[in-house]
Symmetry: none
Subunit: 132 residues, 4 copies
């Protein structure tokens, strides 16, 4: 899977990497049990420090996206990540709240907003078809 980073972005590199891996999983490009490059390899491939990759991997592990094996390396979690729970929905709402207030001020209607959601879902909805 290809990783594209924007080193000028305000978003920390370790988060950009995390987002791209999660996007890969959502798209089905990264399947359960599939191995991920080792910390060293990934770091070299995308030109960042090992610790930065490690930080991303640790977060993904913590959130149930991947498993990290001592010597065998890193794999996408075989059983997928946990389903959204109440806490997850709550956090999601908290994140969306300010975005929606802002959008309303700029006359973005509910329908406009939901259209964006629909458009973004479309990118992911054909799971496994573009395995690359």
């Amino acid at each position: 899977m290809q990783i594209l980073l924007d080193f000028d972005s305000e978003i920390p590199i370790y988060l950009q990497l995390k987002h791209q891996i999660i996007a890969g999983i959502a798209k089905g490009v990264l399947q359960p049990k599939e191995p991920l490059p080792s910390v060293r390899t990934m770091a070299k491939d995308i030109g960042i420090n090992q610790h930065t990759v490690n930080k991303t991997y640790q977060m993904l592990k913590q959130e149930g996206y991947i498993q990290i094996h001592r010597q065998k390396g890193v794999v996408i979690h075989p059983e997928g990540v946990d389903k959204a729970d109440v806490a997850y929905y709550h956090a999601l709402e908290e994140s969306l709240h300010p975005m929606i207030a802002d959008a309303i001020c700029r006359q973005v209607t509910k329908e406009d907003f939901q259209a964006i959601i629909a458009k973004l879902y479309q990118i992911y909805e054909y799971k496994g078809d573009d395995k690359k």
Copy 2:
């Protein structure tokens, strides 16, 4: 308008303040031309540093939410904030992208997600009715 800050939150104070003011505008609690407390008054009222309030005000001014006059003080932008443009939609998508990828991995359907959007829009939809 009442400002509620969570000093234990991960979100920087200046952003929380910004969010709350924008939420106030979205709800209609803060109307165009309405004055906002001066930097030092606001800072004293909510118990934070003047620099922090100033940072928030500068951002809001930059984004067209408020006007800052040397003598007259701070007022909500008389003509309202600019309508969403292409750049705005692009930025919005960028922000939503990782949230949606994550949600998909956790089996949140498009309908689930849009329901949250609808719920949040509801909070704001009665503009001006609950003025303060």
Copy 3:
């Protein structure tokens, strides 16, 4: 509170530090809301790297022992850590399992073992009395 580290120990420094802070909380030497030294200060005081201290603090934060505020620094969680749940008891059993098998082989009786537990509990049971 005094921190004593054994640099020759097999136990990683960041864990030793974590254990000592938790012990301090258990003893009541560290009370809720009480501030902890900043990452830099703690690192300098005990002669280790800032990142190592940071790792400890991040874990303690993650487990609900402390709060980390942007600029105000670090404080013991005001409401204390969460009560043990089922997962906690399960993990505790898993950890104790091999210790007990080993002890049985060495003719340590259940009573012997429970006496050790009692002894260790005693160290902590006078919460707040030795505030130092």
Copy 4:
């Protein structure tokens, strides 16, 4: 005796193997003088590296659990492992210390903790009855 390893566990394979053999001895499933599979047989049987099995066996020998004869192979120590000495109790306390501090913070009482100990002892208490 059956060995069950969790390759996704945080615990190194060589330790898991060691724990299971000790548990077998504690339960009486493995009796003194009873032979253990050779390094290479054991490795093949449970599908791990010979080095890993060797590491486990060397530790068990070092701790007095087994004897390794060049020709006769590996056997459970005929006279059983040494009784717990002062050093052993000291090490046991050291291990339990952080667990108990943590438990206290989570409002696990001494009685709760001792109940877990009792429960785990029960698993082992019928030595020799369920021989294999």
